[in-house]
Amino acid sequence: MIKGKDDYHRLTNLYVKQDWLLSKRDELTELINFCGDKESKDLIFSMLERFQYLKPDTYNYLLNEVSDYIVNYSGFVQENALLLSITADKETDSSQKILYEIRQYINKRGWNSLETVNFFTDGLRVIRKGKRQVLLIDEFVGSGKTLRNRVNYLRKNIEGDFSIKCCFIAGIKNEVEKLRHEGIDIFCAMELIKGVSGYFVGQELVKAENIMLDLELKLAQKINDKELFTYSFGYGSAEALYSLEGCNGNTPNSVFPIFWWAFDRNDKVRRTLLTRIENGL
């Protein structure tokens, strides 16, 4: 894997900067070997160098930021507010994780009787009973598709005046801005640029996109009933370089599948750097 001084330095620098990779040496080696040519390796190194793999101290800081927004800057009052997970199916998800863990931070700021609901559709009953200030909470906003659906659902199904504000630990800056332009009020504690199109420009961008597409062609095009095409460059082409695995979380489907897609094109199991836990994958 190491061919000379430059390779050695690049790999050492990567480990120094991203020390979570120290415990994933075999997985990293496999990924680098998977790349094959120098251009692919350069792209993967560049992406890993910019990767946000949250550690507990960063995660705690972001939970503090979101809770500070809710209590001090949202303009809501706890008597009228509802903190609602966007989870809408039976499978547990990170929206519920954030909802559960942020309660402590909100409580410390003086809101000790804020109503919380951990299943999206159950929230409607509570809103109809009078909690007209709705705080939707989730971990990560990638393409924004899920959030749009939830906001539209509430707008269609709740009569009378009510307000919605959405809170996220992290998200893709472009998508957050699009949602704001669409009139969705959103607070995102950590805004990230897209991993390829937000970083490269001009011919470099075209080249990087082609390299990533070639890499994705080396992955299994389908796992069970899940098509790789749906996750190309991350779900909704979100291009995320982010994971909460270091804090007992999951890797969002917004992340480039090259880092977590479990099979290669020969249906051989890959030892991946990240793990995406999702039914059917």
Binding site: K5, Y8, L22
Partner: protein, 124 residues
């Protein structure tokens, strides 16, 4: 601190302009992840700087090496200044060894009046 870490710090101490990370690979075949672990450990203690692939001891780092490593080598204690002619090759751990009792110091091995051996090893 492992023996390799001592070597690592002494190498840096002896090189006032610093050393490239690759130099440690050339000298000791250390893997990038192993070296990164050392870099992070000693950087977080404020003992080294790492910039543009090069490692350099900080002022604190140089003081640390002088106090904890170099000065230890120059100790005036009896056991750290054994004359060259009395030195023998270092034994491997668990290598069987039978000492010549007559050459063993009386401080270590006491012969009782009855001629029985009394050592610092007691029955338990």
């Amino acid at each position: 601190m492992t023996r390799f870490e001592r070597k690592f710090l002494i190498d840096l101490y002896e090189s006032s302009a610093g050393l490239y990370a690759f130099t440690f690979f050339s000298r000791y075949k250390i893997r990038p992840d192993e070296l990164a672990l050392l870099i992070n450990k000693y950087y977080s203690k404020g003992l080294i700087n790492y910039h543009e692939d090069k490692l350099l001891l900080t002022e604190n780092g140089r003081n640390f090496v002088v106090k904890k490593i170099v000065s230890f080598k120059k100790s005036s204690g009896n056991f750290s200044n054994i004359p060259e002619e009395f030195m023998v090759p270092r034994m491997e751990i668990n290598l069987p060894y039978l000492p010549n009792i007559t050459d063993v110091s009386q401080e270590i091995l006491k012969i009782t009046e009855e001629g029985d051996l009394e050592t610092s090893i007691k029955e338990v």
